[in-house]
Symmetry: C2
Subunit: 439 residues, 2 copies
């Protein structure tokens, strides 16, 4: 067997993932060398504060605050700092020097992916990012390689563990959003400022990455339609279960046609009704899952831990072994693929079905009025359920609740319909509009 | 962009998978070229009978009966004939000439894998086999690459669609094994001779492949403990559901310790009780799923279609694109990995828990006798359920049913326990012994 020199690995960041990566690199060095075909030598760990407390006890002499010098001597740079700067500058420095980069930084990839991939391509270096989407779950490599001979039609992902934890508690324990969020914070599933999770920003970053990869097209973050879960009510969750659904925050990337029938792609993040029999409905707690509909392969699902230090470290180490093999074997590895370069379509082009809940006046002819309003906007009704009328609390006019399930309709038509319903005199209020996915 | 010459692809076999591979290669040639970095030119399809009926209409001039000549001019040979010969000779010829091989032939890999991998290594060629296990589901590449930096503890796979279809009908529709098998045959899920599926031979081949890959160790097919589903009764399935389980045929590959505490591996196929809350319990019909327990990543599951012509063709094409990229880029690709070379352990070393159903004499002291028998053999009781006694049909002695759930015990101790129970005078018969997995 040919003996290779060690591959030098520089680690940037020693947070919950970084410290586990360092530990596993040190503890399993023989095994990893066997798999990579060369030793993986951890040359140092760049941190901001040498004296900060770490999750794991690591040799002091590995730490440095001088990231630039550490990067200079590395074959592979593992970036686990997170955020845009200084992560972006470090990654560009690493790629500029010809080093491969392994990163779990979804924010950086979602906002500066094309810049990083272009920098890598210039020098024949590689960016590996399995850890950036759905933590430990292998999804990047299956999309990039296993499905490289197939056409992906749609991806539906539960890619944010915090919101899935919250929605699952609202569903299974009947908790309010506030109580479930408080639990998520107490258990460490939610950050002190939970905005990025509950408003869907984190999921939107992942949607950008998945859509770009699946459709060989650069899908900018700003083109992703984003709604968080803060509008999801206890009542919606209860009504959903009664109707055979569970509410999930989904990142949906799909191929669509534009107004002229030309192919395009769309990415969106919003709460959706998922039928209880769908595999995504069985994803509980903080787990993640990515459901892929491919033309030839049919339906696939990838399930597992979407976060966690040691779990995500597994994905980083898998990438590290791949990158190290590349150093042993040579060859440029896998380039990013955006040859399809499809048109990225706005939310209005999306076609799906909807559940609309209306508070209406309980009088003859209301259903006819509502139905004709929907028909005028090309939205076709599949089911209608009307609850028995109730006298309003101030003793006024009797009202009733109408729950309308629609056939598949264009998002733009639906939006116009909802606007018209809101203005209709027989409609007191549009209580809830939820998209139904996976039916 | 650099222009490469086309990569020449020879296809062996035009059955349900082969004909779909040919169709997709011809229909999606531009897309595949974009992803592979070079055109994929289908140079011919070797078949036994030029006039046989095909699932797909393909150009007549592609067909040949001269496989050897076709292989001679190929960069990549796709072997979808199945069985050992002539597939083995063709694959060895292809590797001998330096071509990469893409195969979905689990029988060949399970029985001659080491020979093929050695032949490939000699010339720096590669064997790709994503289609050999769990059809369209990406599992080979995630195990080989994504989890290359992790330690796999256990794999539990539903890797045979026919038996899952049968067991699912027995569970959900209350059908007998015979009726469910007849349905499977009528719907094309089962072969005319279903032995390979229902006796677990097919699943055992896949267990060999998964275990070898997961543990970097050659696990011979003959070391795989194998039990089929023909002994599974309607009564067992009903009792299982009542107790919160579903019966699944599982392929289980796990790391174990031998009698001296040294690390080893084990592979086995048998029906098992899976708790209803486990993700594998929700795998219905002919679907497949592979559940992976890794040290760092935690629990992962890969779910999808385990068979089908076009579905499996997706896996073949993914491998084809990978192989073609290798031709464009150069480099030896990924070698097989058996550096761990662990001891392959017999079934007696397996540790799991059990559900034992006994038909016993309904008289005082029986439970004490049974319990002490178990204790003598180091099998510890977790739960006992006794049904009310019944008078036997010939008006003889009253009998009762005892259902014993055990704590985790060694398979060899369990076997000795069952032998002792069978011989005990108070035990009329051991009605059922099932392993409990995933609890």
């Amino acid at each position: 067997m040919i003996e290779y020199r060690n591959v030098r690995v520089a680690l940037l960041g020693a947070g919950s993932v970084g410290s586990q990566v360092a530990r596993l690199l040190l503890e399993q060095s023989d095994e990893l060398a066997g798999r990579a075909g060369a030793g993986l030598e951890l040359t140092g760990i760049a941190v901001r504060d040498l004296d900060a407390e770490r999750d794991v006890d690591l040799p002091r002499d590995l730490f440095t605050t001088d990231a630039e010098s550490l990067i200079l001597g590395a074959d592979i740079v593992v970036e686990l700092i997170g955020g845009i700067e200084p992560a972006r500058s470090y990654v560009l420095q690493a790629l500029g020097s010809g080093a491969d980069v392994v990163t779990g930084n979804k924010a950086l990839l979602a906002s500066h992916g094309p810049e990083l991939f272009a920098a890598a391509e210039q020098v024949g270096a590689q960016v590996f990012y399995e850890a950036a989407v759905a933590g430990a779950i292998p999804i990047i490599r299956p999309l990039r390689e296993s499905l490289a001979g197939d056409r992906i039609k749609r991806i539906m992902g539960i890619v944010n563990g915090t919101t899935n934890f919250i929605l699952d508690r609202m569903d299974s324990l009947g908790e309010s959003l506030e109580d479930a969020l408080a639990q998520a914070t107490a258990l460490g599933y939610a950050e002190a400022d939970p905005t990025a999770d509950i408003e869907g920003y984190d999921a939107a970053q992942k949607a950008t990455i998945l859509a770009s990869l699946a459709f060989h097209t650069t899908v900018p973050l700003m083109s992703v339609h984003r709604e968080g879960i803060t509008g999801v009510t206890h009542e919606q969750v209860v009504a959903a279960r009664k109707a055979g659904y569970v509410v999930k925050l989904l990142a949906i990337c799909e191929s669509l046609v534009d107004d002229d029938g030309a192919p395009g792609v769309s990415a969106r993040v919003h709460p959706a009704l998922v039928p209880l029999g769908h595999p995504l409905a069985a994803v509980h707690g903080a787990k993640n899952a990515v459901f892929v509909e491919a033309e030839a392969a049919g339906d696939l699902m990838f399930y597992g831990a979407g976060a966690g230090g040691v779990e995500t470290a597994s994905a980083v180490l898998g990438d590290l072994v791949s990158a190290a093999r590349r150093h042993v074997i040579g060859g440029p590895g896998l380039a990013e693929s955006n040859h399809a370069n499809l048109h990225v379509l706005p939310m209005g082009n999306v076609v799906t079905s909807y559940q609309i809940t209306l508070d209406v006046a309980d009088q003859p002819g209301v259903l006819a009025t509502v139905a004709s309003l929907l028909a005028q906007h090309e939205v076709s009704v599949e089911t209608v359920e009307q609850t028995s009328g109730v006298i309003s609390s101030d003793g006024g006019v009797a009202t009733a609740t109408l729950i309308i399930g629609t056939h598949r309709a264009r998002e733009s038509d639906l939006a116009a319909t909802v606007a018209a319903l809101t203005n209709a005199t027989v409609v007191n209020s549009v209580t809830s509009v939820l998209r139904v996915e996976g039916a």
